[in-house]
């Protein structure tokens, strides 16, 4: 994922602010991004679990997909745009309520995962026939090219990655957000509300990538920069870098695209079968349905599990998993969990070994280190249901 050169890296509208805040900047998904601030990864992680952490995620791929013959027209228009999108994803998009969002996966013809993404149905009759979609930064160009190819003449893609997309995450996020966006504290997890901010439309969604309660906000760079600056003056809010974002999502058992899933994995083995609603399973009308439905019935060969190293040594991505010298799987994400205060990992093992409590060895620098399969997440989710 990391680029080998620092040339030609893109910058988010918050880049100058990161420098002001003393961030350490690294290449990530084609952007120069803050990996940590002077507070440090561990304290940034712990702060987010107890207070509120502000993350610049403008490198990601927010976009709008709208019917080519115009939006508006209520449920019929929603059904029409949903039917288009459902040709690429296995989730029930038609069944979304206004203001509701859903995590789903973009599939190739073999049922492999091209990306994970969040699709939101807008609020209001005049907005129906459009969807707000956020894809991963590292693969956004490929995703968008696929959308344009697949929906040519039927739907129009509008990129929104020139704006600011930021997340405020943590138990105090709702209190802080309600000062700026009154009423947003009433939103439930995976619901959104539009707001006007200084004449600029912005989208506030109750979701995130930390396991904590929190919000993501899409806002123009003009309106967003003063907003983020003001939010950071609140004592409860600290800027948080990508380092802590990674350890937070890992403790929360959330997948990182390109690591814990990719085109070689289908949603069933990635333990994401829950994104395929009953209606879609019955219809079996999504890419790679044959493989995926078979995996649903027979069980996958391998499956994604949580892994708890029993010693202090973290096991990183790529670490081989063995039992009595036999290769049985691989670690796809691994590091240290500051909240649980021990190493944490995720990976794929043979299905018969996926039971929590199964003893495994992690081959760290040639040495077998004892570990155990555990259920995810490592820390309970704290979502507002």
């Amino acid at each position: 994922m990391a680029d080998t050169t620092t040339e030609n890296l893109k910058r988010t509208p918050l880049h100058a602010l990161h420098e002001e805040l003393g961030a350490k900047l690294v290449p990530f998904a084609g952007y120069e991004m803050p990996v940590q601030y002077p507070m440090g990864v561990k304290d940034e992680h712990l702060w987010t679990r107890t207070e509120a952490g502000l993350f610049d995620v403008s490198h990601m791929g927010p976009c709008f997909l709208s019917l080519a013959d115009g939006i508006g027209g209520g449920d019929d228009a929603h059904a029409e745009i949903a039917a288009l999108v459902e040709t690429l994803v296995p989730s029930d998009i038609a069944g979304l309520k206004e203001g509701q969002a859903r995590l789903t996966v973009l599939l190739n013809e073999e049922g492999g995962i091209l990306d994970d993404l969040i699709i939101t149905r807008p609020i209001g009759e005049e907005a129906q026939g459009s969807l707000y979609i956020v894809v991963n930064g590292a693969v956004k160009d490929a995703d968008w090219a696929l959308f344009e190819r697949s929906f040519e003449g039927k739907a129009v893609l509008t990129r929104a990655d020139d704006r600011i997309l930021f997340a405020l995450q943590g138990p105090k996020a709702a209190d802080v957000m309600s000062d700026f966006f009154p009423g947003c504290e009433e939103l439930k997890f995976m619901r959104h509300m539009p707001f006007e901010l200084n004449g600029s439309r912005c989208i506030v969604s109750r979701c995130g990538y930390t396991g904590e309660d929190g919000f993501e906000v899409l806002v123009s760079s003009e309106a967003g920069l003063p907003l983020v600056r003001e939010m950071l003056t609140d004592d409860r809010v600290k800027p948080i870098g990508l380092g802590a974002r990674d350890s937070l999502r890992l403790e929360a058992g959330l997948c990182l695209y390109g690591h814990d899933m990719d085109t070689s994995r289908d949603p069933v083995e990635a333990d994401l079968a829950w994104v395929i609603q009953k209606k879609r399973r019955e219809r079996g009308d999504f890419p790679g349905a044959e493989r995926i439905l078979k995996a649903l019935t027979d069980g996958p060969a391998e499956t994604r599990v949580g892994i708890r190293p029993l010693e202090r040594a973290p096991a990183r991505e790529g670490t081989a998993i063995e039992i009595d010298g036999e290769a049985v799987g691989i670690v796809t994400s691994g590091g240290f969990g500051p909240s649980v205060d021990h190493p944490v990992a995720m990976g794929y093992v043979r299905r018969d070994l996926a039971e929590p409590g199964t003893k495994i060895d992690l081959m760290v620098r040639g040495k077998a280190r004892p570990a155990e399969v555990v259920s995810l997440p490592f820390v309970p989710h704290n979502y507002k249901r």
Binding site: V35, Q36, G40, V41, K42, D43, H45, G243, A244, D246, S247, R312, A313, P314, R316, G335, F336, P338, P343, R365
Partner: protein, 129 residues
């Protein structure tokens, strides 16, 4: 008869420090290195008795985010490792030059010390980074 000398500390471009006292050298990483690595959560130390040549992988330091190799700054045999780092790896962040030492090497070739930087040279080296 052993002649005792004052310990003197030298540095490598890889940000290790080497405190030489007679034929023994205590080795650790500098404040610059621990600060770059961030919060250290695990240190894998070598075993006593293992012999290293200069530049060999000697130890591994794991921060929340990544693992980094620490190279042997000089050739020598490990005669002691810091037992405190097993339970308190964060000692390296808190006290890199004192309590956070990694191991003690029996110096194999005293001439290698001459190629290391002294405190002033190392300070200038860091300022140039």
């Amino acid at each position: 008869m052993t002649r005792y000398t004052q310990p003197t500390t030298f540095f490598t471009k890889d940000h290790e420090w080497v405190t030489v006292h007679n034929d023994l050298a205590t080795v650790g990483i500098t404040h610059y290195a621990e600060n770059q690595l961030g919060d250290i959560v695990f240190v894998e130390l070598p075993e006593v008795g293992v012999e290293f040549s200069t530049g060999d992988d000697m130890a591994v330091v794991e921060s929340v985010k990544a693992a980094s190799d620490v190279y042997a700054p000089i050739s020598g045999k490990v005669v002691e490792v810091n037992p405190a780092l097993a339970d308190k790896p964060e000692t390296v962040n808190e006290s890199p030059r004192e309590n956070g030492w990694f191991c003690v090497l029996e110096i194999k070739d005293g001439a290698e010390i001459a190629s290391l930087m002294d405190e002033d040279a190392y300070k200038a080296f860091c300022e140039g980074l």
